[in-house]
Amino acid sequence: MNCEVAHERIVTAAYGELPDEQMHELERHIAGCQDCETEQQQLRALKMLLDADPVVEPPANLVARSRIRLEEALDALPPKGWFERFNLRMINNLAGLQAAPLAACLLLVAGAGAGCVGGYEFAQSRAAHAAASAAATLASEQAPSGPTEIANISGIVRQPNSEIVEVSYNQLVPHRIQGSLDDPGIRQLLMLASENSASAGVRDDSVGLMAAECRAGHGCQAAGIRDALMVALRYDKNASVRMKALKGLEPHVIEDVRVRDAVLEALLNDSDPRIRTEAIGVLQPVGADTSVRQVLHSIANTDRNPHIRTASMEVLSHMPEIQ
């Protein structure tokens, strides 16, 4: 043993971690080596010296303080949800699986094998089915005559070992339909146009037509066109569309409370003064209604527009006559 190794072992020995056989060897070396003996003594002296700065037990109030702080922090944490616990359990289970690599490998191989066989079978049956119906499919689905009809290609599948390719594409075909305004199909389209069309012009046209139908008394049922007009009055961004809807609803303000509410809302909230003015006119026949009077009072006092304030005051002043 050379002195360098001995010095290291002296440290290990001083901390009681030197195996017995090495201990004897070290003792023999030190007995014959002045240098290493000094080393050992110096280390002992260091250990004694360091004991002047011993480890003390933490003060009780530090323990208590730390504990309280931790409890507060833990209380503030949201409780662990079932999902988190489930995740942990899954992770632990996976770790268990890692501990059994053979089982994990077998499972993987079995899974992959089953997947391959299943996939192959499925592909085979699909190919057979596709081949059988290919002619019929081609006959029934006309191939596009030009690229302009195709909106996009959604998928391309080549059948194995053949020249046959299956292309899935979407077509955007404009349609046109003509019919009477009383036709439910046409009405459905009009209602759709009043809500969904991006173009204000289209909405204007559809609402205008529906309003005319309502005024003319042509099947303005509560569940159909009338609802569409109320939606347009409440939510359409375009003032002209809202105005047309309001006019269409006018005949129903007396019999339908919902229409009355929609018109009152327009009177209170609509940003366009022309629509608010028109709403006052529309509401005149139902001026006896308490809610209408309340709204008219509030409008007479608070509306930004002086003409509207005057108009509602006028309606209120004529109220006794109307009654």
Partner: protein
């Protein structure tokens, strides 16, 4: 200290402890609190001696147990819970030591221990030192020199030395805690003692 008795006690406490860990992993706050009670004294003792500051020790305690709470689900019984929790604590302490080292190098501040530490030093002295102010002062100065010398070690050397010399852990356990081998821990301990001897050469 990690004497044979405390090790034996830990071995005896292991079975119910495993139960507590499982319950804590299933989300039981009471089980986790019981684990905290079991280890808080050791955690604070280590952090307090390493940092020499109650505030730092308290912060390390807080952070360590919050981490343990958050990640207890990842504990897989591959090592003892004691090693696992110590691993968290030693990492936090190492961070703290590294931060402090940078600060000290920046400002050349010498770690000065005050008030309480005089009592701490007196507690190992014999009775006569209380009646001998000169000797008491000597001890205070000596304590400061020891702290200064310990402060000169790298954070890792300081940690290995702390765990071995002051906390009495086995080198193998220290290696496990610090994610290294027993051999590396042994070499680090050797380097640390060498440096300390050089630092404290004229104190003896």
């Amino acid at each position: 200290m990690d004497g044979p008795n405390s090790r034996q006690e830990r071995a005896q406490a292991r079975a119910p402890e495993m139960e507590l860990i499982r319950e804590a992993q299933a989300g039981s706050r009471a089980a986790f609190d019981a684990l905290v009670r079991q280890y808080e004294q050791q955690v604070l003792r280590l952090a307090l001696h390493l940092t020499g500051s109650e505030q730092d020790a308290e912060d390390i305690y807080q952070e360590a147990f919050l981490k343990a709470y958050r990640y207890i689900g990842n504990f897989r019984f591959e090592c003892s819970f004691y090693t696992w929790i110590y691993r968290i604590v030693t990492n936090l302490c190492l961070d703290q030591l590294r931060r402090r080292k940078t600060r000290r190098e920046d400002h050349a501040v010498v770690l000065d221990r005050s008030g309480d530490e005089i009592d701490l030093l007196a507690s190992v002295s014999d009775d006569r030192s209380f009646s001998n102010p000169a000797k008491e002062l000597d001890r205070k100065v000596l304590g400061q020199r020891i702290q200064l010398a310990l402060g000169k070690l790298t954070p890792r050397e300081r940690m290995v030395f702390e765990l071995k010399h002051y906390q009495g852990l086995r080198l193998r356990t220290i290696g496990e805690m610090l994610h290294t081998t027993e051999e590396t821990a042994k070499n680090t301990l050797f380097r640390a003692t060498k440096k300390l001897r050089a630092q404290l050469a004229d104190s003896r």
